[in-house]
């Protein structure tokens, strides 16, 4: 049986990981390569790197970082942030990235999803969607929730699947940072309407939240950042608990 995946997400700026890291054995908490290797060692199934660099040098530093990670890491990883054209994606693929995640660029130009799928295969294309509940509707947001769009989350995801997205990374901006659990209702609803894998994101605060999102929403993977970085949840313990609850995991 296919295992449910646990995915730590790392924010990267200028080739360095940001946010506090609480691993004991880490010589350099800002080194994405060392941090990634540590997560792989702990049993992470996959990693997501979100690049938040805003300088002109971003592409070059991103490629260099991806190469360094790919040299060392023996599990798959996705890279997201600032990918707007085929050339960006191709450079990342050649540097060893397994998947790329696109967000704003796809909203501005949905054809990008189809172009990426055609060039590199659907398995390479993750559509990241930030969603917020507004007046009874789920609305797609950009720029970390600051910019509202006219798109309804459910229909946007369905359209992205038709265009060639291979996986959906859905972040609830209402739940993100609250540590009160994932938005199981929305995730479950969307999971039923699509035939591609979906990664739950936003709201993880304790191990029970992961059990809940797999059991209630039936998602394929769950992503979190701070609970892993600060050592509040340790992946081996999390996976043991999931297994005890009858959820298939890789241990």
């Amino acid at each position: 049986m296919l295992s449910k995946r646990i995915i730590p997400c790392l924010d990267v700026k200028d080739g360095r990981t940001v946010k506090g890291i609480n691993f004991v054995d880490l010589r350099d908490a800002g080194d994405p390569v060392e941090l990634a290797a540590q997560y792989a060692e702990q049993g992470a199934d996959e990693l997501v790197f979100l690049d938040i660099t805003a300088t002109h040098e971003r592409r070059k530093t991103m490629i260099e970082m991806v190469k360094s990670v790919a040299r060392q890491l023996n599990i798959p990883f996705t890279i997201g942030g600032g990918i707007t054209e085929i050339a960006d994606a191709e450079a990342l693929l050649n540097a060893g990235a397994d998947k790329i995640s696109i967000n704003s660029a796809a909203v501005k130009n949905p054809g990008l999803i189809a172009d990426l799928a055609k060039n590199f295969g659907v398995q390479f294309v993750v559509l990241a969607v930030d969603t917020k509940h507004i007046n009874g509707k789920n609305i797609v947001h950009l720029n970390g929730g600051r910019l509202i769009t006219a798109l309804e989350t459910e229909s946007w995801i369905k359209r992205a699947e038709d265009l060639g997205a291979g996986e959906i990374l859905l972040t609830s901006m209402d739940h993100d940072g609250t540590k009160k659990g994932f938005d199981c209702e929305l995730l479950g609803k969307i999971n039923k309407t699509i035939n591609i894998p979906i990664i739950a994101s936003g709201g993880a605060g304790e191990t029970a939240h992961f059990t809940e999102v797999f059991q209630k929403a039936g998602v394929d993977a769950a992503l979190a950042a701070s609970v892993f970085h600060y050592g509040e949840i340790l992946i081996p313990a999390l996976k043991q608990e999931l297994r005890q609850n009858g959820i298939p995991v890789r241990i």
Partner: protein, 197 residues
């Protein structure tokens, strides 16, 4: 030394990185003449099987690959190329194995692609020497190789049972990505590099 068939079907950075981590030396096979330089051959491949077969045909290496006597390992689409036919692009392939590569059946209420870690049941084969039972490997694919007990050396379930690994004489294929499957994947690559016939 391992020769990697360099035919432009997908990126091989992760594969070469995994070989380097295992201190396995490798080089690129660009022409038929290059095939003689290596003791082992890997056929990588990501993407569309039909398109990959076209690219391989363009290298002029197809006939030479079919008669190779050294150990050959096809990975993912590289494995599918070893079969006779793929539903992806309705393509005729190398036909080293009389097997078919088929599209997953959506009717089985499974998501496509088959993406993630799945447990394989492998047979007693040198490729899996030292690999713990119940080990999971990383898969990402929308087409699969039909199960046939004659060639199957590892089976996996997703919707239905299919082959995660096959062997016929010196030809091996794995549907999963050993270069992305943690330490056990690296062990498999090491085992392959140590294979002698």
């Amino acid at each position: 030394m391992i020769g990697i068939i360099n035919y432009g079907a997908g990126n091989i950075f992760s594969l070469t990185a995994a070989l380097t981590r295992q201190d396995i030396t490798y080089g690129m096979v660009n022409t038929v003449a290059d095939l003689d330089l290596y003791s082992h051959i890997i056929i990588p491949g990501v993407g569309h099987a039909g398109a990959a077969m076209q690219k391989l045909t363009q290298t002029g290496m197809v006939d030479a690959i079919k008669v190779l006597k050294v150990p050959v390992l096809g990975i993912c689409v590289g494995m599918q190329l070893l079969t006779a036919h793929s539903e992806e692009g309705n393509a005729e392939l190398l036909a080293i194995f009389p097997l078919k590569t088929k599209l997953f059946d959506k009717g089985l209420s499974i998501k496509i692609p088959h993406m993630g870690w799945n447990k394989i049941a492998f047979k007693n084969n040198f490729l899996f020497e030292g690999v713990a039972p119940e080990t999971q490997f990383y898969f990402v694919h929308s087409y699969f190789i039909e199960y046939n007990p004659i060639f199957d050396i590892a089976a996996v379930h997703y919707g239905d049972k299919f082959s995660a690994a096959i062997q016929k004489d010196n030809f091996y294929g794995v549907q999963f990505h050993p270069e992305k499957s943690g330490k056990e994947g690296e062990r498999l690559l090491k085992n392959f590099s140590n294979l002698s016939l």
